[in-house]
């Protein structure tokens, strides 16, 4: 379980749980707002993003499920306000091949997403996975 490294600080998400970039942006927005108010729940801005994406109140479980583990081979790296140099060092951190964001959709694990976010079939009929996840990210603290 790892979601934030020392240098450069970056959020590492299990990309199989990401069908689309929008929910990640929503989680990022939320993290940024919390940071600006000095009310982060986790220790860093980037780990907050992972925690927010999981749409659960359980911190360590969220970081474990949505963050990465040693065996994981499909990762989404997210960094706030990244300069080109910083992105290069992030790429160097990860031993792998960088692919396009468009590959998120086909490579996502639909069943795992449905299970993790507990999306019922009635909801799927009227909404995309991305929207369902975004709703849960937004409403987590209201539940």
């Amino acid at each position: 379980m790892q979601s934030a490294k020392m240098e450069p600080e970056v959020a590492l998400l299990n990309a199989s749980l990401v069908p689309d970039i929008f929910p990640v942006l929503a989680a990022a927005h939320k993290a940024l707002v919390s940071k600006s108010r000095e009310s982060l729940t986790t220790r860093t801005l980037h780990s907050e993003l992972v925690y927010n994406y999981a749409a659960s109140k359980h911190i360590s479980e969220s970081l474990k499920r949505c963050g990465i583990s040693d065996q994981m081979s499909y990762i989404l790296a997210v960094r706030f306000n990244a300069s080109d140099d910083e992105m290069t060092s992030v790429t160097n951190l990860i031993n792998g091949k960088e692919i396009d964001l468009e590959e998120l959709e086909p490579r996502s694990n639909r069943d795992q997403i449905l299970k993790h976010f507990k999306i019922p079939p009635q909801e799927l009929a009227i909404s995309s996975l991305s929207d369902a996840i975004t709703c849960r990210i937004a409403a987590r603290d209201a539940l």
């Binding site: 929008f22 942006l25 929503a26 990022a28 927005h29 939320k30 940024l32 707002v33 600006s36 108010r37 019922p120 009635q122 909801e123 009929a125 009227i126 909404s127 929207d131 369902a132 975004t134 709703c135 849960r136 937004a138 409403a139 603290d141 209201a142 539940l143």
Partner: protein, 226 residues
């Protein structure tokens, strides 16, 4: 931290003000959105006021997500801010059912479209009620027909609550009936079409229908002599 395009403390372009909240147009990470700000009631004690407003905010967010889980189309929730007392939703392109029906009233009814809308309303309310959710403010201005897909979207869950009582469901329908009668009587008996769709989709319609008959009676008896 602001979610708007215009300034620091501003939430966006004000497009509507209601009794409970102000509605702004803004953008959320690039997408057009609606920011609903529940304003504080100055006559209340400030601490109490803040707590109450946040409670209502959370209730609205919860009811919306519950409605989605039941298969009712609502705008996607983008964010909830307890400090600014705001909810940020997806912007739905389209016309409110109120405007569509008013247009029918003045320019003539498009039968097929009316039937489609009425059926969708009935089905949506049936799903809500069967799931134990009461909308609380069913009026034609709280329903939007999405541009392109013609899908009915229910908005404004600010007065909604969970209840399985047929009484609450009946009152929910009655509010809609009164709204239709007062504003859209020129469109014919829309309520009957809605109720027909409701009966077809709901599993617990009979108790609710019986109660509705009772509520209607009560509503008409304005002189409570006795």
């Amino acid at each position: 931290m602001d979610t708007c395009q215009t300034g620091q403390a501003e939430l966006g372009l004000l497009i509507k003000q209601g009794a409970e909240a102000r509605v702004y147009l803004s953008s959320f990470v690039g997408r057009k959105c609606i920011v609903k700000e529940r304003f504080s009631k100055k006559y209340r004690h400030p601490i109490l006021d803040s707590k109450l407003t946040v409670k209502r905010l959370n209730a609205e967010a919860r009811c919306m997500t519950k409605a989605r889980k039941l298969g009712v189309v609502t705008p996607v929730l983008y964010g909830v801010d307890p400090v600014l007392h705001t909810l940020t939703f997806e912007f739905i392109e389209g016309h409110a059912v109120k405007d569509i029906l008013l247009e029918f009233g003045s320019n003539g009814i498009v039968e097929e479209r009316l039937n489609d809308i009425a059926a969708q309303i009935g089905i949506a309310i049936a799903k809500l009620h069967d799931g134990g959710l009461v909308h609380g403010d069913l009026t034609t201005s709280n329903m939007i027909v999405k541009e392109g897909t013609n899908q009915l979207v229910l908005i404004d869950f600010g007065l909604s609550f969970t209840s399985t009582l047929p009484e609450d469901k009946a009152v929910d329908l009655y509010v809609l009936e009164r709204a239709l009668l007062s504003m859209h009587s020129s469109c014919g008996d829309v309520m009957e079409k809605i109720l027909a769709a409701y009966r077809k989709s709901s599993k617990q319609w009979s108790a609710t229908m019986n109660k509705l008959a009772q509520v209607r009676q009560r509503g008409r008896k304005r002189t409570m002599v006795g």
